[in-house]
Every structure is written in structure tokens, then in C-alpha cells.
């Protein structure tokens, strides 16, 4: 098991390193000069100004050298020069063109909001989805089942941003049920954190729960037919016990796998949710960085962070799989 984790960590590291290289090459060797947006930022961009910035950013050096400088910056402080000289503490992901702040610092500032949304929202959609799916499976073929399935298909058919917008317009603006949606750090004011996050949580929870409901319905229908579930009935277990302890216990395994990856995806930025509910997370940060003039260091940082999160999530899901399914433990 230990050897397995080490092997997985090594391969995870390789994937992240490779991603960072690809990102680096894409952004710094892409069709446009990364110095161009920076040059456009303040007043008129003259060829002399562009040449100076290109030189200052080290873009004339070889790509290997540039990547080396970037990687070294992750471990020791760096001085970055464009127009003025900026000090960048390790781990340094560069200086934002727009705010002139350290990218790492901004990232750490925005991440908690996204984590809050992702954690709360995913708890809701997992519980709600599995609960509805289990009920539908138990009531298979009845009006309850058909109603739940149709409702789920309906919600899935509407684009997420439409749902989020409708929720915001009606719940927040029109009916004023939950007026304030914003991120307050949990450590600062837990109540404000909770109320500010509630609407985004519910929106994500509702919208994402539908696919989980359908998936867990299918899984439950399958496991309810398993021999070991019949064994549990033959032992004299109550219906509730048969469903939860025996059928759901087995049905949940593939659901958890998908959940882990979905959750990681949420962590990489809940763009629509943050944008619509006005929450300052990394999804919104990344989208704003893409607006012209493009804030290259920020975009590179968000892609890199997303890669790390996805790779880690995969690793965690695989390790978790060994915990929830004893059959893979020895493999």
C-alpha cells in the first residue's frame, strides 16, 4: 500500500510537471507576444516599449531557460522586472499584469471562496442526489419514480447559468429571501459566511444533484437485484437496513469515484456561480484574467492550480476506493 502511494505520488508529480511545461510553452510561445498585452496596458505601445518589455520579461532567452527561471521561482524569491522591479516571494507564480500584485498571494486570497462554494455545494448535491436516486429506485415504476426522473431530466436540460441566473433574480432580487450573496471568510464571521454562501450552495446542489439522482437510481436498481441483498432480506433485516446497509453500501462505490472528480472540477473554479452571485473566487479571477489585455501570469497560474487539483483528486479517489472497496485493497 505504501509503495503504491509513493508510485502514485511520483506519477502525479510527473503529470503536474508536464502540464506546467505545456502551459508554459502554450502561453509564452503562442501566436502572440506575451509582452504585447502588458505593453498595451499603459498608454500607447511603441515598438521600442515592446522591445524593452520583451527583453525585461526574458522572452528573448531560450524557452528552457525561461522555464528554469519559472521553476526556480517556485522555490526561491524572484525579482521580476517590467517597467518597475517587483519582488515576488517563493513560491512565485509571477506578477499580475493588471493588479501588479503577486499571483500566489492573490490565488491564496481567492481560493477560500471557491473552496467554500465547492465543499458546501457538493455536500448538498451528493446527499440530495443519492437520496432522491434511492427513493426513485425503491419506488421504481411508480409515479414518484417517474416524477423524480422527469424533474431531473428537466433540470439537466436547462443550462446551469440559466438556473443560477433565475435563482439569483427570483430568490435574491425579486422575493428577497436571501438577499446577500457574498464571501465572508469563515474565520471572520461564520454566520455571514453561511448566509452568504447558502444560495450558491443550494443552486449548485440542486443543479448537480440531478445527474447524481439518475446515476444512483441506476446503481441502486442494480444492487437491489444482487444476491447479497437477497441474502440480507433472507437474514431478516428490515427494509431500511437492507436498503442502506447492504444495497446503498455497494451502490455508493462508483458514485464516490465520480463525486471525487466532480468535486475537483468545482475546486478549479465555479465560474458561473462566482460571476452570477458576485463571489470573488478563482473561477471569476481566471475569467477576468482572460479579458483583453490578457493577464498571462494569472491565466498560467489558474491552469497550473487546476492541474494540481485534478491530479490530487484522482489520487485521493483511487486511495479512497481502496478504503471503501476492500477487494482492491491488496491489489
Amino acid at each position: 500500500m505504501f509503495g503504491y502511494i509513493v508510485r502514485r505520488l511520483i506519477s502525479a508529480f510527473l503529470v503536474v510537471a508536464l502540464t506546467s511545461m505545456i502551459v508554459f510553452v502554450l502561453f509564452f510561445k503562442g501566436p502572440s507576444n506575451p509582452a504585447q498585452p502588458l505593453c498595451d496596458l499603459n498608454g500607447k505601445c511603441t515598438p521600442e516599449k515592446l522591445a524593452l518589455l520583451t527583453e525585461q520579461l526574458g522572452l528573448n532567452d531560450s524557452i528552457v531557460h525561461q522555464y528554469g527561471v519559472f521553476v526556480r521561482g517556485l522555490f526561491q524569491d524572484r525579482e521580476i522586472d517590467f517597467g518597475a522591479t517587483y519582488h515576488c516571494d517563493a513560491p512565485c507564480l509571477g506578477i499580475s499584469y493588471r493588479t501588479r500584485g503577486e499571483v500566489t498571494e492573490e490565488l491564496l486570497q481567492k481560493l477560500p471562496a471557491t473552496i467554500s462554494i465547492a465543499v458546501g455545494g457538493s455536500i448538498i448535491y451528493l446527499t440530495l442526489g443519492v437520496l432522491l436516486g434511492t427513493i426513485a429506485a425503491r419506488k421504481r415504476g411508480t409515479a414518484v419514480d417517474r416524477g423524480l426522473v422527469s424533474f431531473s431530466v428537466l433540470i439537466s436540460a436547462i443550462p446551469y447559468y440559466v438556473i443560477a441566473l433565475l435563482v439569483w433574480i427570483y430568490v435574491s432580487l425579486q422575493w428577497k429571501l436571501i438577499e446577500n450573496t457574498s464571501y465572508t471568510p469563515l474565520t471572520e464571521d461564520p454566520v455571514a459566511w453561511f448566509t452568504g454562501m447558502l444560495l450558491p450552495w443550494l443552486t449548485i446542489g440542486l443543479a448537480f444533484s440531478t445527474s447524481y439522482a439518475r446515476y444512483s437510481r441506476g446503481q441502486m436498481i442494480e444492487t437491489m437485484d444482487e444476491d447479497y441483498v437477497r441474502t440480507a432480506v433472507a437474514k431478516g433485516a428490515s427494509q431500511r437496513r437492507v436498503v442502506t446497509r447492504h444495497a446503498l453500501r455497494a451502490a455508493i462505490v462508483p458514485i464516490i469515484t465520480i463525486f471525487g472528480l466532480d468535486f475537483a472540477f468545482l475546486l478549479t473554479g465555479t465560474v458561473f456561480t462566482e460571476q452570477i452571485f458576485g463571489i470573488d473566487g478563482i473561477g471569476r479571477w481566471g475569467i477576468q484574467a482572460l479579458r483583453s489585455p490578457v493577464d498571462f501570469p494569472v491565466v498560467a497560474a489558474t491552469v497550473l492550480v487546476a492541474a494540481v487539483i485534478i491530479v490530487l483528486a484522482n489520487l485521493i479517489v483511487d486511495l479512497l476506493y481502496a478504503v471503501i472497496d476492500p477487494r482492491v485493497r491488496l491489489a
Binding site: T231, A232, A234, K235, A237, Q239, H246, R249, R327
Partner: protein, 386 residues
């Protein structure tokens, strides 16, 4: 429909009074599944009884209704998709139409079931010991540690080596034979008075099969339980059953004491079953005679005797009786032996036509008569006729 009580025949030959009603009484049981294609008549008007300490073997091919009928004893069919009629009494408790509470009190407690494939019948995510302990705790108010000790004890009892260590193993860490032993340990944890074993040895290899059967017999002697053994293996029947019930197309076609059924069967389907069993001690040149055709459709069973499309002896019955009229389950030539067949002289056909082909070693080549040992056995069975 001949009921057990009227004929008083099945195995015991005495009238049933209330206080000594057999532990399991299945009376006129009909199980049907409505489907999109029509009504599946899985079991039709089936009756049998089993007393404590006795073993009934139910034989038949796939789809003959043997598993369906025994699952009904525990009320395991989904009431929404099943039509049940008739009566099943377990220790005096009516099971057909009983509420969940009654059924739960019975399941795993008075009546336990051993399933065919122990790999799929044990939960893959829980340790074996915990599954056994659960079966105990569902019916007894005991602590987890007491139940665990009992699980270790039961694993030891069914012959699992180092039970105190293996108790925490998962089913996939057990071998096939050990899994079936664990399954049996789980079934026996509450000392059931009736054990239903649904092809318990089918998934196991032959040597392990014999061990499991021995184990079941030992445990039966110890606890005096009744056993219903569902199988398609006549070898298993010969070894363990006191009585046999042969099912075909959802109906009982022959029943009686094991010795009587195996020595002098009177229904062509049973003949077919016996002829298609290889005999390792017999002549290597002896032909294995398969039953021609396929099992009957339960959606649309054949008219008359369900076996008639596959029966090689249809012509021996006058008229087209086999095709038009379902034979009654009637008294055979031996006591306690019932058969559902129109043939008038089944014993003669069996000894003169079926046996010489299926088991030539039992026939004296010169005289064409059966060998003396078999003759003695037959005389013994027939001699008991009052």
C-alpha cells in the same frame, strides 16, 4: 389436485393432526409473475411437507420452479410483481400474505436459507464474521462482542481453520468451499428449525461438495432441523435426502421416499433424469441418454402433461390423453410414492426398456432380467405395500 392431507401419502403415510403437523407445510402453492409477455406460471398447485430432522430433496431442471417455490417459503418474492396463492405454514405460521414483521421474525431465525453461489450471496464489502454476527444480532439482543464470539464459534463449527483470525476476512479472501461454509455458518447461527439449501454445492468442486453435504448432515443430526435441499444433482439426493420431490414445468411430477424414487421411478421425466447421470463405477461404454428437447415455456405451458412434447413414451398411452389431459398426482405402485403420469405399466417399461439402455450393468446380459441385487431392492420396496 390431490393434497397431502387427503392422500396422507408423502413419505409418512399417516393422517396429519394439528399437534403433529410437519414443520413445513406447503399446500397448493401457486406462484405467478405477470410480465409484459404474459403470465409466467412458475409454480402451479404444489404441495409438500417436511418434518423436523428430515431432508426433502427437490429435483428438477432450471425453470422447473424449485427455487421459486422455496423462496416463497421465506416470502422473498416482491409482492408487487408476484401473484401468490395457496398456503405455506412454517411451524404453524402462515407465510403467504403475511406482513413484513411476521416474515422478518421468521427469516434467518426459524427458517434460514443457503444460496447457490456464495461469492455473490455474501456482501463483498463486509467481513465474513460481521455478516454472521449481523444475522445473529437481527434476532437476538446481544452485544457486538458476543455476536462476534458466536461468529468465531460458528466458523469453527463449520470447519474454517483459525476462525479467530479468518473472522475478519472478506469473502474474496476465502476459497469457494470456505465461502459456502461461511454461508452455512451464517444460516445456522440462530439454530434454525428449517434450512433451505438452494443448490448449495453447485458452485463447488466435487470433493468440497461431499464435505459440505457431510457437514449439513452432521448439523442436522445435532440440531434436528428440517432441510429442504434444492438440486439438479441426483447424486446429492441419493446421499442426503429422505424424500424426493421431482418438479417439471412448475408442478410436482413425482414424489416419494428417496429409495423408492431412485430404484423404481414411474414418471418418464425422472427416468430421463436418472439416465442422463454418468455413473463412474459403471461401464465406460454405457450411453449417457439426454432428455431430448428443451424445458417447457412457463408463459405458455403445453396442454395436457407438460412433459409430453419431450416424452418418448407418449405412444404407449391410448388416444392422445397425454396431449389433452393433465394427469393427476396419483398413487404409484409403491407406498408413499406419487406420480403424475398416464402410463399404466410404468415399472415394466422402466425395467424392460429404460434401464437396459441407461444402466446395462444392472441387467443380466444372458437372461435379460435385472441383476439379483436390484431385484431384492425392488422386492423390498414393493413388499412394503400393505
Amino acid at each position: 389436485m390431490t393434497s397431502i392431507q387427503e392422500s396422507g401419502a408423502f413419505g409418512f403415510g399417516r393422517p396429519v393432526t394439528e399437534e403433529d403437523e410437519p414443520f413445513l407445510v406447503v399446500d397448493n402453492l401457486t406462484v405467478q409473475f405477470p410480465t409484459h409477455d404474459g403470465l409466467v406460471q412458475a409454480v402451479t398447485e404444489l404441495s409438500y411437507t417436511v418434518r423436523k430432522g428430515k431432508t426433502l430433496g427437490i429435483v428438477g431442471e432450471s425453470g422447473s420452479g424449485k427455487s421459486v417455490s422455496s423462496m416463497a417459503v421465506l416470502g422473498l418474492h416482491n409482492p408487487r410483481s408476484t401473484r401468490l396463492a395457496g398456503s405455506i405454514r412454517v411451524g404453524g405460521t402462515e407465510v403467504v400474505g403475511a406482513d413484513q414483521q411476521t416474515l422478518r421474525a421468521l427469516r434467518g431465525n426459524d427458517v434460514a436459507m443457503i444460496f447457490q453461489d456464495p461469492l455473490t450471496a455474501l456482501h463483498p464489502f463486509y467481513p465474513v464474521g460481521r455478516q454472521i454476527a449481523e444475522a445473529m444480532r437481527l434476532h437476538n439482543d446481544v452485544s457486538k462482542s458476543v455476536a462476534r464470539r458466536r461468529a468465531v464459534e460458528m466458523l469453527d463449527r463449520v470447519g474454517i481453520p483459525q476462525p479467530d483470525r479468518r473472522v475478519d476476512d472478506f469473502p474474496h479472501q476465502f476459497s469457494g468451499g470456505m465461502r459456502q461454509r461461511a454461508m452455512i455458518a451464517m444460516a445456522l447461527v440462530n439454530n434454525p428449525q428449517l434450512l433451505i439449501a438452494d443448490e448449495p454445492t453447485t458452485a463447488l468442486d466435487v470433493t468440497v461438495q461431499a464435505q459440505i453435504l457431510d457437514l449439513l448432515q452432521d448439523l442436522q443430526r445435532e440440531f434436528g432441523s428440517a432441510i429442504v435441499m434444492i438440486t439438479h444433482d441426483l447424486g446429492v439426493i441419493a446421499e442426503i435426502a429422505d424424500d424426493v420431490l421431482v418438479m417439471y414445468g412448475g408442478r410436482a411430477v413425482e414424489s416419494g421416499p428417496t429409495k423408492s424414487i431412485l430404484t423404481l421411478p414411474e414418471m418418464p421425466y425422472t427416468w430421463g433424469l436418472l439416465s442422463s447421470v454418468p455413473d463412474i463405477s459403471g461401464d465406460v461404454d454405457a450411453r449417457l441418454v439426454p432428455i431430448p428437447g428443451t424445458p417447457p415455456s412457463l408463459l405458455n405451458p403445453p396442454a395436457g402433461c407438460a412433459f409430453h412434447p419431450r416424452c418418448p413414451h407418449v405412444d404407449k398411452v391410448p388416444g392422445s390423453l397425454c396431449r389433452t389431459t393433465l394427469p393427476e398426482l396419483a398413487q404409484a405402485s409403491q407406498p408413499g410414492h406419487l406420480k403424475r403420469c398416464h402410463l399404466v405399466n410404468p415399472d415394466e417399461i422402466y425395467l424392460k426398456e429404460v434401464l437396459p439402455e441407461a444402466s446395462p450393468e444392472l441387467i443380466d446380459a444372458e437372461t435379460g432380467e435385472v441383476i439379483p441385487e436390484l431385484q431384492e431392492q425392488i422386492a423390498e420396496i414393493l413388499g412394503e405395500t400393505p
